[in-house]
């Protein structure tokens, strides 16, 4: 087991290397570079000399591979991810500010998704192919099929007209004022959670169905144990597997943010940070965010894979 963990951790290095190179290069491929954007702030055309002066001031005049090594070196040796090209604020500071927000939104969505999906999934499995099964499954797929931005807009527009209420737009960190913070986060969490619940529900249902067919469950039934007992004791533990799978699948959103919800509900998370950085061509922020998100997601996936070993005895790690 330890060898497996060690190997997986080691495998993170080339993965991260790949990720960093991909991101570094791709971002600089976006047409309309930051020099253009900065120079266009002025009314008068900038000559070649001015462009070059600005490029040098931003450190963008060196060849790409040198810029890359500067960047990677700074991260590895001094934990410095650089500064925003526009704001001059350190990237690390921005990340530390936004990560907890995104994480909170992701966590709440996860909780909503699980509390909706697991009961539905279990019920659907036990009552497979009955009308109840169809209805609950249909509802869950419906949640998936309605785009989240549309639900979000509905919630934003109509209550304001009908009842004079709209979701809170003042962001306050959870540590400062939990009630106000939650009052802002609750609506987007529900919307996100509902669309996530569809996937989880199917996983739960599949898992439960498989488990229910197992011999030991049939034995338990044959022994005359009540259905509830059978389900609770034997099957539910296996239901944790889709939970853990969901965490793995949703890790990018947990860390990387749900851009659409953040935009509609004015939440200063990682998604919006990235979106704004992309439209401003703020390369250090883009690369910094991708790297942090990538690393965090990979670590979360490792933990998820390991927990499979604990939950599902069939899984063996060579």
């Amino acid at each position: 087991m330890q060898a497996y963990i060690a190997r997986r951790l080691l495998a993170l290095i080339p993965t991260l290397f790949f990720a960093s190179v991909i991101v570094f290069v791709t971002v600089r491929l976006i047409p309309g570079d930051i020099i253009d954007l900065m120079m266009s702030q002025n009314d008068i055309s900038a000559g070649k000399k001015d462009r070059e002066a600005l490029q040098a001031a931003l450190g963008l005049d060196k060849p790409m591979y040198i810029q890359y090594f500067h960047w990677i070196g700074a991260i590895l040796f001094s934990g410095d991810m650089g500064k925003s090209l526009w704001q001059n604020t350190p990237v690390t500071e921005q990340l530390l500010q936004r990560l907890p927000v995104t994480f909170e939104l992701g966590l709440l969505s996860l909780l909503v998704a699980l509390s909706v999906a697991i009961p539905i999934g279990v019920y659907s499995a036990i009552r497979q192919d009955t009308a109840g099964d169809y209805v609950t499954r249909s509802f869950s797929i419906l949640m998936l099929a309605v785009p989240s931005f549309w639900l979000g807009t509905l919630v934003m527009v109509f209550p304001a007209i009908w009842w004079g209420w709209s979701p809170q737009i003042r962001f306050v960190p959870f540590t400062q004022d939990p009630i106000q913070n939650l009052s802002q986060m609750i609506v987007p969490s529900i919307i996100l959670g509902c669309s996530l619940s569809a996937i989880t529900m199917r996983l739960t249902r599949t898992m439960m169905l498989e488990v229910l067919r197992q011999d030991y469950v049939r034995t338990a039934w044959a022994k005359g144990l009540s259905e509830k007992l059978v389900v609770m004791r034997h099957a539910l533990r296996n239901a944790l597997i889709p939970v853990v799978t969901l965490i793995g699948l949703q890790a990018p959103i947990l860390i990387g943010g749900a851009v659409i919800m953040e935009q509609i509900f004015v939440i200063p998370g990682m998604g919006l940070l990235l979106l704004e950085a992309v439209s401003q061509r703020d390369y250090p922020i883009i690369t910094g965010v991708f790297l942090v998100v990538g690393l965090a997601v990979m670590v979360i996936n490792l933990i998820v894979d390991l927990s499979y070993g604990l939950l599902d005895p069939k899984v063996r790690y060579r």
Partner: protein
């Protein structure tokens, strides 16, 4: 004179043999009525999309300012938008676009998934390890953000969106194909084929691929729905197929949202189309999985 036996023989015609496809269709309708309904609905939209040019009463960009924001009526069954364009026609053409985007992106994604999954799953070793690290890297990024960055690079437009979606979904889906290939690889008949000296390509084609088709088909149907939804998300953020292209997602996130109060039909029409199609494909995909997945067989 013909004997009784002859007449009996002549009358007793042998039952016609139905192909495996017909068998499957009958099973679908009999065992999974919801999934069958989904398939039918999707076929209807497919038909509408393919024949939009014939079915649509107006052009999709027929601007007529005096007819702007008219509610649904006999002349305009789905109403008109803020430029006076007929919503029914736009939704029909939208079906065309969404179907194209959905199918092409899903198709491309499936091809990529198969190629990547089969090669890495079967060949294994160093090649597998390297490619898997690359896939890991790709999958650790939030999907929408990756799409945004790539669309920024290549610019907005339908072919670009299809390629971008296809790539993103394909790389992610290769994992599932790889998993299936790995489990098949260890099978007896593959070993047997190898021991008789069969070429790798032949083994892949004759033994591996057919056994991987089930998850691939399920993946494909799932991807169509995902692609259509992803395009709508991109449109909302401003990175989708640009107007006046009448994609459902574009209509919903653009004029549908801007005029949500003054003209709810602007959002209702494409929204319903989007939801119904995605829903139909999803239940169909579910039914497919139930029927094709060997683990699910016999689970009465």
């Amino acid at each position: 004179m013909t004997s009784v036996a002859d007449t009996a023989l002549a009358q007793a015609k042998p039952r016609p043999r139905r192909g495996p496809f017909m068998d499957f269709v009958i099973r679908l309708f009999r065992e999974k009525p919801l999934g069958a309904a989904g398939a039918v609905v999707f076929m209807v939209f497919l038909f509408c999309g393919l024949f939009a040019d014939l079915l649509a009463p107006y052009g999709y960009n027929q601007i007529s300012l005096m007819n702007r924001l008219k509610p649904p009526s006999l002349a305009f069954p789905f109403g008109t938008d803020h430029s006076g364009r007929d919503m029914l026609s736009r939704c029909l053409y939208g079906a065309q676009l969404s179907v194209i985007i959905g199918f092409c992106a899903a198709g491309l994604a499936t091809v990529i998934s198969i190629v990547l999954g089969v090669l890495t799953g079967y060949l294994g070793g160093k090649f597998d390890m390297v490619v898997q690290r690359f896939v890991d890297a790709w999958m650790s990024f939030p999907e929408l953000i990756v799409l945004i960055v790539v669309v920024s690079v290549v610019g907005p437009g339908m072919p670009q969106i299809i390629v971008v979606l296809g790539l993103a979904l394909g790389i992610a889906g290769s994992r599932i194909v790889r998993g299936a290939v790995v489990s098949v690889r260890e099978n007896m008949y593959v070993h047997a084929a190898k021991s008789t000296g069969a070429k790798t390509a032949r083994i892949l084609w004759r033994h591996v691929l057919p056994n991987v088709m089930a998850p691939v088909i399920i993946l494909f149907t799932n991807r169509v729905a995902v692609a259509i939804l992803a395009e709508s998300g991109l449109s909302f953020l401003g990175f989708g197929v640009p107007p006046p292209a009448p994609t459902w997602g574009g209509m919903l996130s653009g004029s549908g949202r801007a005029y949500m109060y003054q003209g709810p039909w602007l959002a209702l029409a494409p929204g319903l189309c989007l939801t119904v199609v995605v829903y139909a494909i999803s239940v169909f995909g579910d039914a497919l999985r139930d029927l094709l997945d060997p683990r699910m067989r016999g689970s009465r």
